[in-house]
Amino acid sequence: MIRLKKAGKLFIFLGIPMIPLIVFWFVPMIVSLWLSLTDWDYISPTFNYVGMDNYTYAFTSDDFYQALKNTVVFGVFTVVPTIIIGLLLAMLLREGLKGITFFRSLMFSPWITPMVAMSIVWAWIYEPDIGLLNQVLGWLHLPQPEWLHSSSSALWSIIIVTVWKNAGWAMLFYSDALQKIPRDLYEVSNLEGSSWWQKMRTVVIPLVSPTTLFLGIMLAIESIQAYDQIQVMTQGGPSGSTRTLLYMYYQMAFEQFNMGQATAISTIIVIITGILALTMFYASKRWVHY
């Protein structure tokens, strides 16, 4: 009887919350995995089972490797700067400063603005001839790149927008983490003559490391899933220079209607995300101090 009650409780508290996970995540995952072994074209009622062909194709195509490289570059160069800028902003906007709430809200506002809306504005800012950015650079007699229109600068332009959007969000978490650092650790540092960088290395960075891990994982996942800004600003171009794996998946599925290959890419994305999160999690044991 007691056992039954326990099982019932277990079902209520664990089973019921699992239902949406099973319905909306697990089932589609299985379906997607199965689709990646077929050549379904999204419309036809029929398809063929093709085994690992879609995967073999992906791993032998240059486009795939270019997208993989773009994803890695985009990931590293959005996550790392966002974290650094977020931390520096949080340190700059310490408690006690006048107008702190105003500055914080200002920094945070990009985060609450939809990426699509922001991307439209930035697409204009980046416009080589009439955009704001090149106007300013022109006044300053600095070189005026083609930004979104050149395959050598397009990805970097998107990276800048993404960092700009997320830095305020990271700042908010760091502000909270910084507040929790005991004041006397700074005082010891002052007494012992730590330089600014020594304080960063011995106090700030280690003591905000749990926040850094959290932000690192969240931002890495978000970077892999970046879509809006690419769709609005470049649609993966010019010549594939801003096509990430996720964007490649989207193009294959909804432009080329090649569901088999698209879902194969999506499976690879899920695996990469999983490996990344796990690695960061395990590596964190060495540098994250709770």
Binding site: P182, D184, L185, E187, V188, S189, N190, L191, E192, G193, S194, S195, Q198, T202, V203, P206, L207, H289
Partner: protein, 361 residues
């Protein structure tokens, strides 16, 4: 030349209207162990932190080794400080915590190792060098904090209530260790505490603070035997000094109830209202009726002493007698006061009316 000289130091926090330290004057000699003692909020930490350079000095002068240091940065004052909450780096092990100051100053590895191991030896931490602070007991953490202070070979140690987070037994042990450390190193030390026992047992000189003012500066004996104000008399010593109200007329010390306590051996003139301070050891139970009666409220056997708490002349008092004394709760006993040991304070100003030590000398 004093090691530290403080003249007319005042402190006002930016975010707080009133001054919290008023006109602080003190000379500290080399090798002294000075204790700042006073109730919480009286300004002990503030004063210590001004000496450390962690808090700015609003006005007045702070001299160290004959140099004015008001505007010298904390790191250039060559001071080591031990904090109440230890202020250990949670992510470093004991070795790295002790080595912290030396590492920041970029000493050679071999030198650091030697110094840290030596400090660990002195403090009995050799076995724990690899442990993180969270795996240490309170007493061990406190020793690590001391270790970080002593490896630096600083000229001055500052300690802000370093033992207040420890349990009673450990506190007594660490008290001894700190005194021994001071004997061994001879470093000029300023130690802050709200615990008068710590002050009495550790200090070479005590500075009693109250509400931002210095009440008295003196050796433990001076402060105990010759309190210069009612505040000091009440604050220092355990159990606290007893107070009765009375007056002095023609050198007769009288209680307000009219009973005569005795004749003073020194003439201080007539005083209408005095607070009469009597330490618990200077009152006895009299065999005959003295006219000063106490109703016993409760009795505490402290081992070597018996503390009898009761009411006399409308005041709660404690007397300390030999344990063989037999008294029962609610019993009325007659008290005999040792008139040669009473302290008299002006009831209005709280200032001592005479120096007990000089009179008895």
């Amino acid at each position: 030349m004093p090691k530290i000289k403080m003249t007319s130091i005042k402190k006002k926090y930016d975010n707080k209207g009133e001054e919290v330290i008023h006109d602080f004057n003190l000379d500290i000699e080399e090798n002294e162990f000075i204790v700042f003692v006073g109730p919480s909020g009286c300004g002990k930490s503030t004063t210590l932190r001004m000496i450390a350079g962690l808090e700015s000095i609003t006005s007045g002068e702070l001299w160290m080794d004959g140099k004015l240091v008001n505007d010298v940065q904390a790191k250039d004052r060559d001071i080591a400080m031990v904090f109440q909450n230890y202020a250990l780096f949670p992510h470093y092990n004991v070795y790295d915590n002790i080595a912290f100051g030396l590492k920041m100053k970029k000493y050679k590895r071999s030198f650091i190792k030697e110094r840290v191991e030596q400090a660990a030896e002195i403090l009995g931490l050799t076995k724990y060098l690899k442990r993180k602070p969270k795996d240490l007991s309170g007493g061990q953490r406190q020793r690590v904090a001391l270790g970080r202070a002593i490896v630096r070979d600083a000229h001055i140690f500052l300690m802000d209530e370093p033992l207040s987070n420890l349990d009673a037994k450990l506190r007594i042990q660490m008290r001894k260790e700190i005194i021994n450390l001071h004997r061994r190193l001879g470093t000029t030390t300023i130690y802050v505490t709200h615990d008068q026992t710590e002050a009495m047992t550790m200090a070479s000189r005590i500075v009693v603070l109250n509400d931002g003012y210095i009440e008295q500066i003196g050796t433990p004996e001076q402060v105990y035997n010759n309190p210069q104000s009612k505040f000091v008399a009440e604050f220092m010593g355990s159990p606290p000094m007893n107070f009765l109200e009375g007056s002095v007329k023609g050198n007769q010390l009288m209680l307000d109830s009219g009973e005569v306590l005795g004749e003073l051996s020194q003439s201080i003139g007539d005083v209408e209202k005095v607070d009469i301070g009597i330490r618990s050891e200077n009152i006895d139970i009299a065999a005959h009726d003295t006219g000063i009666n106490m109703t016993v409220n409760h009795v505490e056997l402290m081992g070597a002493d018996l503390h009898i708490h009761g009411n006399a002349d409308g005041k709660e008092i404690v007397i300390r007698v030999v344990p063989s004394e037999k008294v029962a709760v609610n019993e009325q006993v007659s008290l005999r006061v040792n008139i040669d040991m009473v302290h008299l304070f002006d009831a209005n100003t709280g200032k001592a009316l005479f120096d007990r030590e000089k009179v008895n000398a």
